[in-house]
Amino acid sequence: MSAVASSFLPIMAVISGQADQMEAQQLSVEDMETSLNALLASEKFDWLRANNANPARADLNAGAGATEVDVAVPNNETTTSEPPEADPDKVVADAVGDEQLEMDFDGVTADEALIDGRRRPGVHKELPERVTQNNPGAISAPPPEAFPTDEFPVPDRWRILQSLCPQKGSDESIFKVFGALQHNCRSTLNPYGQNVLKGDKPIPADKKPSFLKGDDWFFVVNAISDTVIEPRSFPIPVGIQTTERPGSINVFGRSGSEVYAQTFITGLALIKGSTAYKPPDVEYRLTLATQINHVNVPERRVLFVEPSKKSRRTDYFVGVQEAFFDYHLRNTSARHDFDSFRIGIQPMQADFRGFLFQDNQLGFRLFGTRDNNRVQYNLGAFVQLEKDTNSGLNDITQTPRDSYIFFANLYRQDLPFVGLTSQFSVTYNMNREKNDIQIDDNGFPVRPALIGDLRGRSYDVIYPGYAVDGRIGRINVSGQIYGAFGEDRNSIFTSEPAKISAYFAAAEASYDVDFLRFRASGLFASGDGNPYNNIEAGFDAIFENPIFAGADTSYWIRQTIPFAGGGRVISINGRNGILNSLRSSKEQGQSNFNNPGTILAGAGMDADLTPTLRLSANANHLWFHKTESLEALRVEGSIPSDIGWDLSTAAIYRPKATQNIVFRLSGAALLPGKGFKDLFDQTDKRDFHYSILFNAILAF
């Protein structure tokens, strides 16, 4: 019953990977640069150009000129830690805007080309003949010392432009000659205004604490409000020991319920480096998420193990979603290929779409790029933090779980051909929770899960994976294949060790026509066709957060279906998850490889009606792959595999065409197929289930 805000995880990912923020910074820096060029071109400041052209000053210029050179260096690190997301439903992902950068340079040898008028370190055009000025009688320009210094109070280059801002109420005519300057003269309350608290400018030298050595320390504060209002329905069994109403004489009761969740995400970061200009040298970051959630369900013993408690619950929690130290070890090329490491609670996404592991977890990660950022790698080791039950946030007051994740992955651009990025990965989940008993905050046992023999389990699973993301011609493609191989020390069906051998494949293709994008999605996660043999063939992830097939707009991905009659505190699928994994909890439970598997086929469309309004629609059909495990647990034969149609639509409204104010309203309906009807029912006079999600994100 976790009530994580729908938009929360992608947001976290974006903040923590700095994509959003860096993007914003980069934009403003670009603005600055543009403005600067304009400034330099203007007649009023002729002296600067003259100075620039003075060969006698060449040595001085070398230092200043580096500024311009660095501007063009992309922020490699951003793309490394945050592979480009491609889902159109994820509004936050749009801000990354990677696609625009993927211009077609076919025919140009990227390494060698030097575009006219540009310079790059290490690459020199043949210089023209040296011009020797011989101008007898000329008067040389005055030295800098000749100018009154109080007219140029510019402590660092980030403040050049703002030093030109007119005083409030004074002559603003400069904006007429230099319009772009307005953007640099905004109030600090405007999220797009230059602000020392947002890392747009370094901490002023006089305010910098003494323990921060050197220059270029940036301080960044984030504040995001995420509001979720979510009326939904799913099959709910009536309380076993007591019921909310008289006349509750069947297993299934009413199905409608509501979730309200307000999350405040607040973060602090201290960064040393040039931020946008090159990977930071050092970064300290702390992000807290504070959530208040309220859930109202129609039946007893859904929210609490205690049947006497009311069927409403208000809870709050403060989770530590980021607390890390990031250190830039070295550059490995003149183009800022680099090696860095990051230690602490940090975001991690194992693949493009979050199928296997996408979470903010405690660990160590070594990462970097090679070959002009065309190769990116990650090596990491994580231990899973315990999650707060009702918010899904990290609970650092509890001992971390005996579950460890080791992974290595490699991204290669333009493999197998230009336009596609390939990812090769190996992820190893070492789970040692055999002797663990974990009761969640609502009193329900989650480890070992209340399913099968109920005995504790340890397991080792290795997930080899291959993923691809990019385009083939005009068709955008994203694909993922995983295997899951290893050993479960105690099968819940046989009480014996069992081999794990399961598979996963998913692909999504889309095609853009003007403002429309058409999508087709398919997903297959193998199910276990014989729970009583010593092979577990059901694919389960470590911690999925799939951005796929409509993501949390879709009913099946957003809502959790309690497996009534087949397991207590067991859900068919997890919240913000697509796999039918029969876990006790996506957040706190163990992976379960005795599951029925998942098959999805769907189509969708996004329409960018205006820069501020996007409409999306998705139609997915879902099936179980194998229903034998469901049948064994329910002692019910012949459960059909058809789950049903999942139809959804969403509207995303960004009144300012920015990511700072985003509203989303989505509605989804599950039209049950034969299998779902065979498993579940409700007393409401309604033959479908719904999931409505209103989400407002306000970011400063």
Binding site: I249, L450, I451, R455, E496, F680, T683
Partner: protein
């Protein structure tokens, strides 16, 4: 008669020891392995005339079989150096042999370890009672035989799993509801008017179901015996002096008694596909045995080699004369349970209880309570209820049977408001325990819904029993409770009979018909155990020879309704599966069902009665406003509603309808 035995505590500790299970096949109990589930039968339409079930073939244990079983068990006991008493019964509870090994402890002690883990001081009800080891062995065997069928092989360990205050008993389940068969241990009682006794003469000698000296057992060491997939009996082993239960199913016990029993059943093991490990309740797998074949020493099967040297066959007063006898084949006239005749019951699938000479022991009849109710059940109405309930059962998906999508198999009893039996029918392979239990349930629903419940309990000579009335009235804040204003299904009464109220919720006081959790264990369930405690004492004194007088064939000391009629003659039952029968607002009886999942039992009684009402008119379920689910108990800081019935998910094989009891 209650002795403190420190050995009980020591044994309890021994039971808690765990191991990794020896590395063998964790589900190998010696039966035919069944890698692929047997195909599910194709459900055919049920017309109410029969043909929906295939009766089990006639199989029985021969004397040689019994000798082999005993020899195998003794061999393992020798290997484990645990001299034991070994009992073998047939499916209907006839004791075929009791073998006492040299040096075996002659007695055992019922566990006084409460649900909280402490030894209860002073013990109450049936806690810390010294019992003959043979009685323990017999009770364990009867448990294995009675709980099992061709579709499910259950053991006394399985019983332990489903009768405790949380289901299943484990460190991780505190706060969850009680076991589905909570209270079933107090069935098949030695005082039951229904269960038969050893010593019948002539053709009635071997009719069952026979009583158990201690009811059903939760102490591991009772395993069923099969021949050709058919239950033919069971073995029970008593050797460690502790007659208890397993408080934690998460571990794997090293249990010598269970190992000895497992050795005994080799060659007679249940098919792997029907063992308890293949059956889940709410997704929780049941457990047949923690010991597996790989834990056993080499089998010794030569009876002659051990008889008289390793120990001896012994007589047990009230159960066996000492010599080995062959078992009866279930389904024969001699077994006491046989197919019904056309004149007895319309549906040819039905089995009835018989007296050995062909006479139905409980032919369908009209109510006998004309003195208490205006219009008692007529024979036609009783028949309609049984027939309609039988149809619901035939359509119902079994919850505890393999292969999947088997039909439910239960026993169905109808009683009048005096507790008199108006008819009992069974499906061909319904587990035996449900026969007595269905009757207990029918009587319990009728009793607690009746106007005389309070006065009958207050009339019990022991104030311990009478005190429960006041507790109920205080708890419900109703000075007139238990006088007939409310219809109590067994599920409702069960809500009041748990050591936590609401069921399983930690930190709450006990239900008014239960014991406080500090006193509670499976030997002290509250009113249920208090009602029959004197009978049990009488009987054990008789078995040990301390008394020459056995307990009367009629449980409880509640006052007679009329001469010879007592409402609770086989005790009460406190888990779901019954509803009271009404004519308008007038209680006229009760229907009880037992043998499959408790939700199935509920549905068969509730819908069977409902459909009978539709068919014959006038009778039916209690008016909705009278049902116990209108009662809301104020706990001060919470309100908790009682329940009435709970019809199961995916209830029928012939339709995919859900929530089939909605609005009825």
């Amino acid at each position: 008669m209650r002795n403190f035995r420190f050995s009980a505590a020591i044994s309890a500790v021994a039971l808690l020891l765990t191991s990794c299970g020896g590395g063998g096949d964790s589900n190998d109990f010696g039966g035919t392995p069944s890698p692929s589930p047997a195909p599910s039968p194709t459900p055919s339409p049920v017309d109410g005339n029969g043909g929906a079930y295939t009766p089990p073939s006639l199989e029985s244990l021969s004397i040689a079989d019994v000798q082999t079983i005993i020899a195998q068990a003794v061999g393992e006991a020798q290997a484990r150096n645990l001299p034991s008493v070994i009992a073998v019964t047939d499916r209907v509870g006839n004791v075929l042999a009791v073998f006492e090994m040299n040096g075996a402890a002659a007695t055992a002690t019922t566990s006084a370890r409460t649900a909280l883990g402490a030894l209860n001081n002073p013990p109450i009800d049936v806690q810390d009672v010294t019992i003959p080891a043979a009685a323990g062995a017999i009770a364990k065997a009867i448990t294995g035989a009675y709980l099992s069928s061709a579709g499910n092989a259950f053991s006394s360990r399985t019983a332990s799993q489903i009768i405790q205050e949380h289901f299943p008993p484990a460190p991780s389940t505190a706060g969850l509801e009680s076991g589905p068969l909570f209270g079933v241990q107090f069935s098949q009682l030695p005082c039951s008017d229904f269960n038969q006794r050893f010593g019948n003469s002539g053709a009635a000698a071997l009719i069952g179901p026979k009583r158990s000296p201690l009811g059903l057992s939760a102490d591991p060491g009772g395993l069923p015996l099969y021949k050709n997939g058919v239950v033919v009996g069971a073995i029970g082993v008593m050797g460690d002096g502790d007659y208890g239960y397993d408080p934690n199913i998460l571990d794997t016990d090293i249990d010598d008694e269970e190992a000895i029993a497992l050795a005994g059943i080799q060659g007679f093991s249940p098919p792997g596909a029907v063992s308890a490990n293949r059956i889940s309740i709410d997704g929780t797998q049941l457990r047949f045995s923690d010991m597996v074949v790989s834990d056993l020493s080499p089998l010794q099967s030569n009876f002659a080699a051990i008889n008289g040297t390793a120990g001896n066959l012994i007589p047990v007063t009230g159960y066996t004369a000492g010599a080995i006898i062959a078992g009866t084949a279930y389904g024969t006239e001699a077994s006491g349970i046989r197919p019904s005749t056309a004149s007895e019951f319309k549906n040819t699938d039905a089995f009835v209880l018989t007296d050995g000479t062909g006479a139905n022991r409980f032919p369908i009849r009209a109510g006998t309570d004309a003195g208490s109710v205006a219009a008692p059940l007529t024979a036609a109405e009783t028949r309609a209820i049984l027939e309609e309930a039988f149809i619901i059962m035939s359509r119902a998906r079994a919850q505890i049977r393999q292969p999947l999508d088997s039909r439910a198999q239960v026993s169905i009893s109808v009683v009048d408001t005096h507790g008199e039996i108006l008819g009992i029918v069974r499906s061909p392979d319904a587990p035996i325990f449900g026969t007595d239990v269905s009757l207990q349930k029918a009587r319990t629903a009728s009793f607690f819904s009746g106007s005389m419940a309070a006065s009958n309990l207050l009339g019990y000579p022991d104030t311990d029993v009478a005190a429960f009335v006041g507790r109920v009235r205080t708890f419900l804040n109703d000075p007139n409770a238990l006088t007939g204003a409310t219809a109590f299904a067994d599920r409702s009464g069960g809500n009041l009979s748990r050591p936590y109220f609401p069921d399983g919720e930690l930190g709450r006081p006990n239900g008014p018909l239960s014991r406080p959790i500090e006193d509670f264990n499976v030997f002290a369930t509250g009113l249920q155990s208090a009602l029959i405690f004197p009978n049990l004492g009488q009987h054990l004194a008789f078995v040990t020879g301390a008394s020459l007088t056995d307990t009367p064939m009629r449980c409880t000391n509640t006052p007679d309704v009329v001469a010879g009629q007592n409402r609770l003659e086989n005790g009460i039952q406190i888990f779901p599966g019954s509803v009271p029968i009404y004519r308008g607002n007038q209680l006229i009886g009760g229907i009880g069902v037992s043998g499959d999942g408790i939700d199935q039992d509920d549905m068969i009684s509730f819908l069977g009665l409902h459909n009978a009402g539709l068919r014959v008119g006038g009778i039916g379920n209690a008016p909705k406003t009278m049902r116990a689910d209108n009662i809301v108990v104020d706990l001060g800081n919470a309100n908790v509603r009682l329940r009435y019935v709970n019809c199961p998910f995916a209830p029928f094989l012939d339709t995919n309808d859900q929530n089939v009891c909605e609005g009825l």
